[in-house]
Symmetry: C2
Subunit: 260 residues, 2 copies
């Protein structure tokens, strides 16, 4: 970490787009903690997962929409934004990358679909400590004051520690008034997911099309999960890794699986 | 697993699109092992990661391009295809989901960006045992015979076992003649990745745009990784999980991280 006299460079991105209230609140929340640089998508990119743009080129333009903060919008995905920021804006790795504040939950299995978390994971892969923040409220008029408080507290606290270069946290904040939040809880990812139910419609020419919808179901009864923490008004912090190897299954296959 | 008299239903998808040689070779490789149903994107979707389509509706049409095999093309991502297949085509979970054969490697960190592996992971989340296959050759005229052999061997062998409902394997096949392949090796995911280098161009109006390019770098010297296995002409099999919790960091934060 940089010395007190040398403020850390904090890269900020998101997946709801650079004009969303969530990213504005994130910038405001950490403005006093470092030199902030924003590189974010020029349009909403929710549900983009870890998508990258290979088949066509990217545009990037400087914008002046955050008071006194350097900001760039790109035509790419959240992951593209992190890559562009390092290679073409900062020309170095920032000290920390923050993504969000997402409008809506990214707990449980949603970490995998989330553009917010994929941007943070991309930074972690690039050896940049990184945190994704999400507020459990899809509303653009959501109340962000409690979220700002906890973002500042968590980022401020981490900046006093020596951070692992691959540190990656998934932070979700309940959408309740400040006085109801019980504190911060380190959790594991719940096995909870959406049960798909595509809605079938017909276009004016009689041809079918489908809308993805679904109901959220928690299959995980543990009290150490992010879903449990959020249901009980805690801020959930799930440490995340990008090594997806299933070591238990690896050992089992090595022992028992003989190919004919 | 279904009994011998009751052939398993095998869902096949990919990310290179339903007309690619890779998916055709996958269908051919396992046709005798079950009832095959193909639900795949109507266009290439490489690098889509775990993207899903939320903001606009999906189209799906039956196509007759595989000899005697039920097949549907969709306007969605690989993950959308798995969701649509379960909810609108099969109206039940298949016994197995296969994704690929991808044109190009999906080893190491590429598992995270890969549409091929994201489709397989989606199935695994849905409690469908699943395998993603990739051949280390981007060429559409690639030689698929060795890949077909190993696909048949691996799928055939797994169908004789009781499979965990979340089983998820990332299989990569070296692009060398059959006689040079040394066998199948169960591995862990290497820490190897692309070092980004965006190429800057100017459009006819003088405005900049950027192409994502990069060089592959292996930071992982282990001999138990997928990259090592492939470099040594083994077929690599990495067991994959969708619980991204970093339990080591979780224990450390629970012990040492006191928020002010």
């Amino acid at each position: 970490m940089p010395k007190a006299t040398n403020k850390p460079t904090i890269l900020i991105t998101n997946d709801d787009g650079i004009t969303s209230p969530g990213i504005r609140n994130l910038v405001e929340a950490v403005k006093d903690l470092g030199r902030i640089v924003v590189v974010a998508p020029d349009k909403p990119q929710s549900g983009m997962g870890h998508a990258i743009t290979i088949g066509h080129p990217l545009r990037m333009n400087k914008v002046d929409i955050f008071d006194g903060v350097e900001a760039w919008q790109t035509s790419g995905t959240p992951v593209d934004c992190v890559k562009l920021a390092v290679d073409k804006v900062l020309h170095r790795k920032p000290d920390l990358c923050l993504s969000g504040i997402n409008h809506g939950a990214n707990h449980s299995i949603n970490v995998i679909y989330s553009g917010t978390m994929s941007a943070a994971m991309e930074a972690s892969i690039e050896s940049i400590p990184s945190i994704g923040f999400s507020l459990l409220d899809y509303n653009y008029e959501a109340e962000f004051a409690p979220a700002r408080h906890y973002v500042h507290q968590i980022v401020g606290s981490l900046l006093t520690r020596k951070l692992d270069k691959h540190l990656l946290l998934n932070v979700n904040i309940p959408s309740v008034p400040m006085e109801l939040i019980k504190g911060v809880k380190v959790c594991r990812q719940a096995y909870a997911k959406y049960q798909e139910d595509f809605k079938e419609r017909k276009d004016p020419h009689g041809k079918k099309y489908y809308w993805l919808t679904g109901a959220f179901v928690n299959f995980d009864k543990g009290k150490d999960t992010d879903v449990w923490a959020l249901e009980n008004n805690y801020v959930s912090v799930v440490p995340v890794q990008f090594d997806l190897t299933n070591y238990k299954l690896k050992a089992e296959l090595e022992k028992n699986w003989k190919l004919k």
